[in-house]
Symmetry: C2
């Protein structure tokens, strides 16, 4: 998955040992897995050459993706540019995030 | 490494089978490895759930990083937030990109 951090998210990630992002749409910290339980335990942190991108190597509990796949990158692009699902769905998002009551 | 694409870069990546990015600083296509020879041959392309991030799995010839490492993520962040080089430098950037004549 790809997500954003601000300084607070970065510090909390280091301190807690779990991935914490910053939701730009909600303008708040996003403690990944807080609702779903699908937390990301940090195994290793790398930073790139110009120090503006962070790579987290994590132990992913359950599905990282809100669509129920382990990875958000569950779709493969074929040579001609068509797209197909290439991974198994692990969980039903409706079960994880809840259904709206009717 | 993390880099940007525009539509032209994306199309040329698909067509050529090699990674092509868009340099935002130079406002032009960046055919990765055109100068250094360190091209990235595409092995697989994935696209994420909201279709705004592309993951390229590539065969990296030589060093992807302009600092001479295979990956730009050659620095590891330790638990207390300190940073250390964790990989081997493959090439001398001055040899790859040329020295300025004196």
């Amino acid at each position: 998955m790809m997500a954003w951090m601000n300084e607070e998210a970065w510090k909390e990630t280091l301190q807690s040992g779990y991935a914490v992002y910053y939701s730009r749409s909600r303008s708040q910290l996003w403690r990944k897995g807080e609702t779903s339980g699908h937390r990301q335990q940090i195994e290793e942190i790398r930073v790139d050459c110009d120090a503006d991108t962070i790579l987290l190597k994590v132990h992913q509990k359950g599905a990282a993706c809100h669509e129920g796949f382990e990875s958000c990158f569950f779709r493969k692009v074929n040579a001609e540019g068509t797209v197909a699902i290439a991974d198994e769905r692990l969980v039903d998002p409706a079960q994880v995030y809840g259904k709206k009551s009717s």
